[in-house]
Subunit: 155 residues, 2 copies
DNA sequence: CTCTTGCTGCGAGACGTTTGCATTTTGCCC
DNA sequence: GGGCAAAATGCAAACGTCTCGCAGCAAGAG
């Protein structure tokens, strides 16, 4: 079982530049790179874990970006495939940036006390999904998986 | 990959009787079996899939059970280990009855169009959880996993 | 049957999220 | 560089979901 010990380095590694991000955004339709959207993307790039909408809004307090705009930006970024929505149980919905040309995805292990997040390496379930597809006739199978537990510091 | 083709039969198989359920409820503390709680349990026993709070409340329209009471009942039943909360993505939170002396748990495959639910057989991830525990030092590891896709009828 | 304790209904209200609308901004074309 | 149409923003109002306080009611122990 391989896990990432240095969470920060891992999340910060996808340093897509602003022009790159703008390009990705435009690909999806007539969308513009605006001040608020850039600020939202910056916040996510700087973060070392998936962020909640409220957290992003607070990080943007300096720029006075409206909460509704953060919601609208996240919807757009999700639809454009630049951001992934993660269900964090008690911690609610979080969002994380998807690096350009990332293949596969990972899951998280979340402390039920302090919400510390540990990244788990690439998903082990894609083959399972294939088998489910042939057994049930379902298509386009995706999944949502997170682990929860008590981290060493909280035990 | 083994799946349950006949969802109804599967969910209905845990016909714990009312006295049994009452006993399970009492075990957890000074809790009483009341009309509304019985109605909630009946609704879940009759259902062929996990239900949302709102659905349960609507099923109970005849008995005029208050929405707040449904919420309170579900909290209690979860805390007593009689009910499991399942995150259904877009479909929100759902709840399903846990049969007496059930070992292990299962996951669901949910159609993203019509919300049809297929039960998947017992969880394959418990060993994975053990490996995560020793790799990270986390304890009491649980997980939340659901699959989504397009069912044959919706393709 | 009575009494205690827990439960319910009701209303208020706390969050999280979405929407309509008037105004501002962006990116494009000239 | 300036002007234009389309898109994005801020603000406020409205939702949906879920929680809480409180007064009255009911379950179940003695």
């Amino acid at each position: 079982m391989k896990v990432h010990k240095h969470t920060k380095g891992c999340f910060r590694s996808h340093q897509d530049s602003l022009p790159e991000l703008t390009h990705r955004l435009r690909k999806g339709g007539a969308h513009r790179m605006t001040g608020p959207r850039e600020a939202v993307l910056d916040a996510m790039r700087a973060a070392d874990r998936p962020l909640a909408i409220k957290e992003i809004h607070e990080l943007l307090k300096g720029t006075e970006c409206d909460l509704a705009t953060v919601y609208r930006s996240m919807h757009l970024l999700c639809k454009s495939g630049m951001v992934r929505r993660v269900e964090f149980g008690k911690g609610g919905r979080r969002f994380e940036l998807i690096p350009e040309r990332q293949e596969g995805h990972h899951h998280h292990l979340i402390c039920t006390e302090c919400e510390k997040v540990v990244l788990l390496d690439d998903c082990l379930l894609d083959q399972v999904a294939g088998r489910i597809a042939s057994a049930t006739g379902f298509k386009e199978i995706t999944h949502q998986l997170e682990f929860f537990g008590r981290c060493p510091a909280c035990q």
